[in-house]
């Protein structure tokens, strides 16, 4: 990979703590994400990685800490704020709209960009149709980008797992996000599918300049893709830095060795 310069900080979480009842899921987590980088969050199962993403896009509301996104500091993010401000995400357990086709799923990802009102859509003439066509074109570009032409009109429920992951990525991309949160995009994939997904992640970052926060299990993938890595373990932040640095960190080594024991 060619040399890259990290941009401005777009997202900063500071001192985030989150608990459910008596269970502490995140404990005083702080890190930042810079414009245009691929930022990974790693850690063993139950480390709180997904919860961290849920905090960033407002599904969970932390008890302590602040989230600063694009210069605005909040105690907690709200889901619709996150979406409206260009934060999109995929899910660890696929969260597609099962009753719809690939095309419609990705079209739904563009809902925030559609301006025609209900009456116009009911008449389906003029603005509404023009918009449908305009957005269809964008969606087709995404379909082309993710190489899922052959499944365009297939109901997503009928697709194999790897394809569903791709469609979900497509739905997130449809929002033209500035910050893309990927929750284990390669989990459960075979080698070939993983390679494809890696290529897509890099291409998204590269072609669209999208900042990416990534959770991933596969250490090889993480180290190859990421500019910087945060390591979590049971809600605690173990390390933060470039892949090489993190790899050499004693606490990280211990935690991972601990896992393999």
């Amino acid at each position: 990979m060619h040399e890259r310069k990290l941009g401005e900080v777009v997202l900063r979480v500071e001192g985030i703590s989150l608990s459910f009842g008596a269970m502490r899921v995140l404990n005083n987590i702080s890190f930042d994400v810079r414009q245009g980088e691929i930022r990974s969050i790693i850690g063993p199962n139950g480390a709180g990685k997904s919860s961290m993403l849920n905090v960033i896009n407002g599904v969970y509301h932390p008890q302590q800490g602040t989230i600063t996104y694009r210069g605005v500091t909040r105690d907690q993010m709200k889901v619709h704020h996150a979406a409206a401000q260009g934060i999109a995400r995929t899910f660890q357990n696929i969260a597609l709209f099962k009753g719809m086709s690939t095309l419609d799923n990705i079209m739904t990802g563009r809902n925030l960009k559609i301006k025609s009102n209900m009456l116009q859509q009911a008449i389906y003439w003029g603005k509404a149709q023009k918009e449908e066509i305009e957005h269809r074109k964008k969606v087709e570009e995404i379909i082309d980008f993710l190489e899922i032409q052959a499944i365009r009109k297939t109901p997503v429920g009928k697709l194999p797992y790897g394809m569903q992951k791709r469609v979900e990525l497509g739905r997130a991309l449809a929002a033209e996000p500035e910050l893309l949160l990927l929750d284990e995009p390669m989990a459960g994939m075979n080698v070939e599918e993983k390679e494809d997904m890696c290529r897509f992640v890099l291409d998204i970052n590269d072609e669209f300049g999208t900042t990416i926060v990534l959770i991933e299990h596969d250490m090889g993938v993480v180290m190859d893709l990421s500019d910087r890595v945060v390591v979590l373990d049971y809600g605690l932040q173990l390390a933060d830095g470039p892949p090489d640095e993190v790899r050499a960190n004693q606490a990280v080594i211990d935690a991972y060795l601990g896992v393999s024991n």
Binding site: V59, K98, Q121, Y124, I133, R136, A172
Partner: protein, 359 residues
């Protein structure tokens, strides 16, 4: 088997996004419309038009409304009857208070009023979901019927609680309500409205709002995360659904029966409409029509069938048997095809498209 699709390619998105993309389907639809608009009024008896086609069309419209809410937006509702009643009484009040209003205006406005009421009862849907919501919609059903029964204002203080539609004409003396209206006029008027609203509904469900509804239905949390706002989306479903149900109610009271009491829209009406969309198919425009046809025709079949076999069964017995058959059919359909007649239709179509292959 009937399909010949090779060479039917789309070179514009407009063509690709059309409602019926296959030529044969378009022919079929046009043929159906020709039959509905020309053949049926010409060949049908008054009985058929007045007592079968009219309720079929009107109930199909109500089912369409419920299907938007339940089938597309995933919000289970048991309050359809209440909304139909609202439409009926709104139309009555409008027509009697402002006799100069045109019938179309009356009907559309009563739909609008019902939509408002629907919005009101849809507000809890933001916080409550699933069965809790279904029960909440029952509340609206009971409340609305009680209200129309209780307050004489709604019936212009008629002693019987029955409202009667004044004669109204579309233009000149083409009456569509009241004693001067011919069954043909009533039928064509209703048919036109129902076809237009079906088209409108189809347009909605294939547009952004329709996708938002289905997204909320399939996975609300994911829908929210991609930016779909829950309350407006659900309220639009409630509003539009009640709009259609209101119009159906107005048509029922004005065009079909001519006079009606609130009991015509009791909770059994709600269930009847719900059955239509279960049997017809949740989340399908076609399903609303198929289900309505089925539910309208079944009792007629059941009450006539014993005669064909030379049996004489008491009327109340027949109504009990009807209950049983309904119940059994519902269960049968849910087991055999939870997505209803529309899915069967679709499967048949798929089979024909792939013929002679099985897949």
């Amino acid at each position: 088997m009937l399909y010949r699709e090779a060479g039917e390619f789309k070179s514009t998105y407009r063509a690709d996004q059309a409602i019926l993309t296959i030529r044969q389907d378009r022919w079929f639809m046009w043929a159906l419309l020709v039959v509905a608009f020309l053949v049926i009024p010409l060949v049908s008896s008054e009985y058929w038009l007045g007592t079968i086609m009219l309720p079929f069309l009107i109930l199909a419209l109500a089912a369409l409304g419920l299907n938007v809410l339940t089938g597309y937006a995933g919000q289970l509702s048991l309050g359809t009857g209440g909304f139909m009643a609202t439409g009926a009484f709104a139309a009555y009040k409008l027509a009697t208070a402002f006799p100069e209003l045109h019938i179309l205006v009356v009907i559309l406005m009563s739909g609008g009023i019902t939509a408002g009421v629907g919005l009101l009862f849809g507000i809890p849907s933001l916080r409550i979901k699933g069965f809790y919501l279904a029960v909440a919609t029952l509340a609206s059903q009971f409340f609305l019927i009680w209200m129309f029964n209780k307050f004489g204002w709604f019936t212009n203080y008629s002693s019987s609680g029955v409202i009667s539609a004044p004669p109204m004409s579309l233009f000149g003396d083409n009456f569509v309500t009241g004693p001067y209206a011919t069954p043909e006029a009533k039928y064509l008027f209703t048919l036109t409205l129902v076809v237009l609203f079906a088209l409108m509904t189809k347009n909605l469900v294939r547009s952004n709002i329709g996708r938002e509804w289905m997204a909320v239905r399939d996975m609300d949390i994911a829908a929210e995360i991609i930016g779909i706002k829950m309350l407006p989306t659900k309220l639009k479903a409630f509003g539009y659904s009640s709009f259609l149900c209101g119009i159906a109610g107005a048509l029922w009271a004005f065009v079909y029966t001519g006079s009606v009491e609130p009991l015509a829209f009791d909770v059994n009406r709600s269930f009847q409409i719900l059955f239509m969309i279960i049997i017809g198919g949740l989340g399908s425009i076609m399903g609303a029509f198929l289900g309505a046809a089925f539910i309208v025709l079944l009792p007629i079949f059941l009450s006539n069938a014993p005669h064909w076999f030379g049996l004489n069964i008491a009327v109340d017995m027949i109504s009990h048997i009807e209950f049983m058959v309904f119940g059994a059919l519902i269960i049968f359909f849910l087991i055999v095809e939870p997505h209803g007649l529309a899915r069967l239709w679709q499967l048949l179509k798929e089979k024909l498209r792939l013929w002679p292959f099985p897949y």
